[in-house]
Structures are given as structure tokens and as C-alpha cells.
């Protein structure tokens, strides 16, 4: 039978929302406080949902240890305690939580083979969250 497994992970990072395609006034009008040149940070929660047939032998959609170690290595080690603007992924794009959510989806979709990725949900604060399903 098919089930969906969701797992939540925490990481902290800083960012500044600023687009080279906009004038300083436009940046300020668009991003407000998030355009502060020194940046600011969040405690992000990333919630991954994967799906698949529950394995008769293990009772699992996928082994949680495999998912945890993959996310630790490929996502958390990449983004935790980093300034997102300095990373290769955001050299050309604004590190909004929308874009970060898509980046994380792509990393997991490309690299995690043990179950089907259904959705990445990224909470920037307790009030804001974003979802990407590909």
C-alpha cells in the first residue's frame, strides 16, 4: 500500500533580498526591510514529503536513516549557518524562500532515489511557508 512520509528539519541562514535587475528605489519598494544591505536571518523548517509502497519486509516507505543522512549531507550542510547570498545557487537569483524551496526540491529530486519526492514545504517563520511540488 502507498503511504506518504513527512519529515521536518531545521536550519538557520541569513539572506538579503535584492535584485540586480531593479533600481535601489525599486528594490526598497519591492523588498522593504528584507532589502537591508547587511542581511538578516531566519530559522527555516524544511518539511519533505516522500511517497511509495510500504515495503513488506521493513514496514517502511523508505529508511528514515537514509533520508536523514541524505538531507544532512546535501541540504543542511549546504545551507545551515550560511549567508545564502554568498552561495553558488544564488549567484544569479534572489534567495527568496520561494527560490530556496525550489533549490531544495531539485537537490532532493535529483539525488534521493529511495522514495518519490512529493513536496517540499519550507517555513521561513511560523507565519510564512512555501510549497513546491515540481
Amino acid at each position: 500500500m502507498k503511504a506518504h512520509l513527512s519529515r521536518r528539519y531545521l536550519f538557520s541562514a541569513s539572506h538579503r533580498l535584492h535584485s540586480e535587475a531593479m533600481s535601489p528605489q525599486e528594490n526598497l519598494a519591492t523588498y522593504g526591510k528584507c532589502n537591508n544591505p547587511y542581511g538578516h536571518g531566519h530559522n527555516y523548517v524544511v518539511e519533505l514529503t516522500v511517497s511509495g509502497q510500504v515495503d513488506e519486509k521493513t514496514g517502511m516507505v523508505c529508511n528514515l536513516a537514509d533520508l536523514d543522512s541524505f538531507v544532512e549531507r546535501e541540504v543542511l550542510a549546504r545551507f545551515d549557518h550560511e549567508n545564502l547570498n554568498t552561495l553558488q545557487e544564488f549567484a544569479q537569483e534572489v534567495p527568496t524562500t520561494e527560490n530556496l524551496c525550489i533549490q531544495i526540491y531539485e537537490i532532493v529530486h535529483r539525488g534521493f532515489a529511495h522514495a518519490h519526492l512529493e513536496r517540499v514545504r519550507l517555513e521561513e517563520t511560523m507565519m510564512n511557508s512555501f510549497e513546491y511540488t515540481g
Binding site: 500500500m1 512520509l5 513527512s6 519529515r7 519486509k57 514496514g59 517502511m60 516507505v61
Partner: protein, 136 residues
């Protein structure tokens, strides 16, 4: 169509072990969860039902009946139990969160009088949960 979700909590212990595996294989696959003495969780259950709103009552479901069924058929059976030893579904099936969600679905699906069962969500911890929609 309106969806209604009712939450409940239960606490239970379990361990993961497949008798067809060698002891080494069990430990490799299940890690700490393989400790035969078991360990426990405070589970949170969310039962979501769906249906049309009854024009006379304004309800999707009789919540009293839903609560009674959840209490009798799920919580009475699982709360404060060692799942591997006391719950029939898990005598021969590993009580993973996936299998717990499936077992709860099977316990409830035929018992609802008006609304249809839509989803069973079981939180093993606040950071780990499983959804089951009755899909084969």
C-alpha cells in the same frame, strides 16, 4: 465537499524487528528501533473525513459518533499498549508509523456512518509523520 479533521493522542511502545532477517540485518536496517525491549512515543492522530454538509444539521459528520468510533476502535486498542505484543495487526507486521496509519485506516473505514474517510495522519514525533489515503 467539506473536510473535517479530528485529533487524538495516544502513547504506545514498539520495536522494529523482522524475524526473517539475521540479528545483524535487523540492527543495520532498524538501528536503535531494533531494541527488543521497545521504546515509546506520544503519537498524535489526525482523522480527516469528507462529505457534503447536511442541510438540516449543518454537519459533515456527527462528531460525537466520530469521537466514539475513534475512542472505541483506535484509542482503546492502541493507547498505553506495547504494539508488537498487544495489538493483533502487529503480531506479524512491524508497527512502523506507516503500518500504524494503515491499521487505523482499516479499523475506521467501515465504521463511519455519513462522511467518507479521507486521510489518516499519524505523528510519531512533531518532526515525523505519515499520511495514508487508502491507496493500494
Amino acid at each position: 465537499m467539506v473536510y473535517l479533521t479530528r485529533k487524538a493522542e495516544f502513547s504506545a511502545s514498539h520495536y522494529y524487528h523482522n524475524p526473517d532477517f539475521t540479528p545483524e540485518e535487523n540492527l543495520r536496517v532498524f538501528g536503535k528501533c531494533n531494541n527488543p525491549n521497545g521504546h515509546g512515543h506520544n503519537y498524535t492522530l489526525e482523522v480527516t473525513v469528507k462529505g457534503e454538509v447536511d442541510p438540516r444539521s449543518g454537519f459533515v459528520v456527527d462528531l460525537k459518533q466520530l469521537k466514539e468510533v475513534m475512542h472505541r476502535d483506535v484509542l482503546e486498542a492502541l493507547d498505553h499498549r506495547f504494539l508488537n505484543k498487544e495489538v493483533p495487526e502487529f503480531i506479524h507486521r512491524i508497527p512502523t508509523t506507516e503500518n500504524i496509519a494503515i491499521a487505523i485506516w482499516q479499523r475506521l473505514v467501515s465504521k463511519l456512518e455519513t462522511a467518507k474517510l479521507h486521510r489518516i495522519r499519524v505523528y510519531e514525533t512533531p518532526d515525523l509523520f505519515v499520511d495514508f489515503y487508502g491507496e493500494p
